[in-house]
Point group: C2
Chain length 642, copies 2
Amino acid sequence: HLRLMYVSCLFPIQITVEDYEQAAKSLFKALLIREKYSKLAYQRFCRTTAQFLRSSQNMRWSEEDEVLPDMCPHPKDGEDPYSMENIPENLNYELKMKDGIVHVYDNAEAVRENRPRDLPYPDLETFAIDLSHVLAMIADGPTKTYCHRRLNFLSSKFYLHEMLNEMAELKELKSVPHRDFYNVRKVDTHIHAAACMSQKHLLTFIQKTYKTDADRVVLEKAGQKMTLQQVFHNLNKDPYDLTVDSLDVHAGRHTFHRFDKFNSKYNPVGASELREIFLKTDNFINGDYFARIIKEVAHDLEESKYQHAEPRLSIYGRSPDEWDSLSKWFINHKLHSPNMRWMIQVPRIYDIFKSKKLVPNFAKMLENIFLPLFEATVNPQKHKELHVFLKYVSGFDSVDDESKHSDHMFSFRSPKPEQWTTDDNPPYSYYLFHMYANIMVLNNLRKELGLSTFQFRPHCGEAGSITHLVSAFLTSDNISHGLNLKKSPVLQYLYYLAQVPIAMSPLSNNSLFLEYSKNPLREFLHKGLCVSLSTDDPMQFHYTKEPLMEEYAIAAQLWKLSTCDVCEIARNSVLQSGLSHQDKRHFLGVSYQKDGPEGNDIRRTNVAQIRMAYRHETLCNELSFIVDAVKSEEHLESSTQC
Amino acid sequence: HLRLMYVSCLFPIQITVEDYEQAAKSLFKALLIREKYSKLAYQRFCRTTAQFLRSSQNMRWSEEDEVLPDMCPHPKDGEDPYSMENIPENLNYELKMKDGIVHVYDNAEAVRENRPRDLPYPDLETFAIDLSHVLAMIADGPTKTYCHRRLNFLSSKFYLHEMLNEMAELKELKSVPHRDFYNVRKVDTHIHAAACMSQKHLLTFIQKTYKTDADRVVLEKAGQKMTLQQVFHNLNKDPYDLTVDSLDVHAGRHTFHRFDKFNSKYNPVGASELREIFLKTDNFINGDYFARIIKEVAHDLEESKYQHAEPRLSIYGRSPDEWDSLSKWFINHKLHSPNMRWMIQVPRIYDIFKSKKLVPNFAKMLENIFLPLFEATVNPQKHKELHVFLKYVSGFDSVDDESKHSDHMFSFRSPKPEQWTTDDNPPYSYYLFHMYANIMVLNNLRKELGLSTFQFRPHCGEAGSITHLVSAFLTSDNISHGLNLKKSPVLQYLYYLAQVPIAMSPLSNNSLFLEYSKNPLREFLHKGLCVSLSTDDPMQFHYTKEPLMEEYAIAAQLWKLSTCDVCEIARNSVLQSGLSHQDKRHFLGVSYQKDGPEGNDIRRTNVAQIRMAYRHETLCNELSFIVDAVKSEEHLESSTQC
């Protein structure tokens, strides 16, 4: 392919040498910080970036040093995905929450002696300092200028690449046998289980169910048991007459900048009873209907063969029983599908539980969320269902309206979770740190025991303060949305350099926070950020029977994306998903962990090698500037010392 | 609902009384001209508009005076759609083309005496004068100002209507039992048969066919018969390896403003052989594959139940045999579907046939197109297949790249078709007049004989000169595209006043002529023009399995259309389609021919009565200004005469 010959020249970017060096140093440090937290939690860190970081430290990067997540493969054909055989024995460890983080002890004596097992326990102070470093640099003038100019350069460079190589990329793809956009794997990495079916699907399901189950007792309200018929009678509705209009679960003009209105769209016919009956796992009918409808969605994915999804189920932290209930629901209804893995979303609604006196402090909420996971890890015999369910869980999400303002500023002086007893909700960063901290300890414990690890993949940058994106840069394997990266060139450039995956949902944004035409997805893709497409809530946002395809189709139409573009997006979605190593090898090629064209099997991904080479060379070029600056400074320092 | 109380006040529109009267007079005359040509050809003319025209002439409008098209109903269950029984006898009429228009004579003697039957035969001079009247007025300053201001007013008024009544409309729709956007009828009124399947569908069809038919002789090239295997061998392709990329039938960035490149996308793998084999009705295998794939599309529509389509098939005018061949294809392959009717598209490519010496002059081309239809009408026994096929034909389209410039200016001095012997292509208006003229005579003849009539529904205003839209205003029942109405306020206002239906395809435009965000559909809809959505070419433009739903979904998403908006669009699509009176009664309600809320059955259309009332009142208001001006002037004139 035609190369852009001048790309390694820094001079067109008019910036003084001092500014450049200061910027590079800051960026370098930020990358090191992310790398540290990623490694600690067994989350992925871009291999190319790591290689450059090592080279600047005059170290050799080696594959053995790489820290990787462990995802359970799906059971092979014929194996029972719910098998409770071979569940490990009780380790008789003791568990105790301290400063909002679960600590693991060998035994009661170790607890008394305050001698936890040798696992990394992060502390709030260090984290707060690291966070403040990155916070400071995103406001630093020279760094902003440098990043802004590099990002503009990346845009223009891609534009040139397109003009020079577009036809060559297409030619490459045309010669790939039997592989096109329709049969490359796509993962819907961000989709809420309670809205994973289309509005029409939910409607049909309700009507179908009513035909057979009108007399089934489905709800207990104020001590009174009610049949489906009675429920509809009380709502003054005949299910046969229901329509998508009266169901009223679709977003529209009225939900724009109204997250509250949007949230109420989860109630079919505006009735929380129907949400309770049809869209909950833990209700009078043990989530039977919800399980059935999800199995229908799974069936459609399996039929499509090439589409996968990671539906997000809620754990609230109201009570420690939630996990057992959720995993029993999963096992009893046999919800495993080879085309699905699961995400756990934790709504940031401590304030609500506190005001209802369900929890005394924030630590209790964290305990309710995380302690059961540690228990199931050290004593799976006592939590068999949870132990099995966790095999199919990719990771955790932190979710709620990001535009809500918090009065508290997270810092090393912030109260510890046990002391967080006010009615106010902790800020976003506080949530993120404590979720990360527990996931990190848990992952280390599980890795030690040969169990699967979890990714932290919060909603981040959909709205609200830019600090959210800083916290996620430190703590998260990948994020959902990321719209606010538009507003900070430094953060955007950091997300680029570290190749932090971003699952974007422009149709969701279009109904809630940002008009489609203003969505930065195309711009991010051009610059080389690792973006993918996901649906968020098909029930609220999509119209057709194939929501993920609708999401891709609209993006392709409006932004005139090429086949190579959409296949690159699809490949990114697989990479950032919680699919197992085995699945990723199968879907992307045996060397998928390598960066650049080497790691790309075009016969599986349909992404042109020209594109892969362009991306890789470009990233290496950007990283080399940083490393060169850091090295030359070190050289200067060491020679001054001499 | 909340009414806008000031709507009948003209004063906010700052314009002098003289200008207003001149504009009104011109618009009035233009509407009378359209009405004349519509009635002559049994095409629809908006009833409300007709009523106002009559009232200004101090006449009473009556339903009996209304001229309506006649569309054959679909055969009832159990009836044979291809039945050749009860075909009328030969009338022994004589037919002769004169000045490019087929004339009908009682017998040979009448031919000799130049005494055609008493049917209206339009003449080019009158038409040219009428055309020049409308052409002059669209450039008239005061008329432009008046129309521009009225259109702005219509926009603002709708905006107010929306703010006042949006929730009330939604409430109305929510109370409609069992009817929502998904189960209102939608007709894809503009879709080319050769591209009516998605790219993926075509690909799968080719692969499936190859598995069973590799050894079938499918092509004769240069005297040599070739099997499907040989064809693919010569192309150096293995059908199993084919992908949508190598099929290369999808439009993209490269087709924007390149109609030539777009046209070549009809050739799968860039090979005209595959187009010949899979997408033609008249080939070595008698269009077998094309028929099969269209039947699959029809099957999908029938499954969807609420979606209909009117695929467009080509008649070129190269030879008089085309009609017999096409209708035999239809009958032999049993292509009737209750969810389909057919359109005939005539490409404007006289210049190509002339340069290849296939026709000596333009009249011969017209004769090849229209004479067989007249023959089948007066002597159906001799053209049984065509007689049956015509039952399911809605009408005619004139199609080609409108952006091509023509040197000739159509006027009353233009040569008659027999004298059009140059190699140059006649201009758009010349084509339109001669197609209209023949359809008009044919419709009158068929009406007399109790046979179905045809609509003229050309591609118009997709690109090129604004005069195209003037010609269509006179001659066409409805048009496809209409983008250029953006450029002429007078024409846009005329299309509004006469409620000329416009089938718009924003996704097609997005790939060819106009970016989606600049498409005027939403603006037209707001003002109250009668717009609908159609796909044009799913093979080139769409991604999902339901192209029409994709078209609606994208429009709804990007323009944040309400349920009422999309249902109004769907209703418009049924109204302007060639579905039979019986079907329309069934799909829209028994009074669908009445304008305003009276004509709307909300239980079938899901269009709010508030919306219908708004549209009707607004149109009446606009028309009343015109009529008032004309009347006051008449009053003035008559009092001056006294």
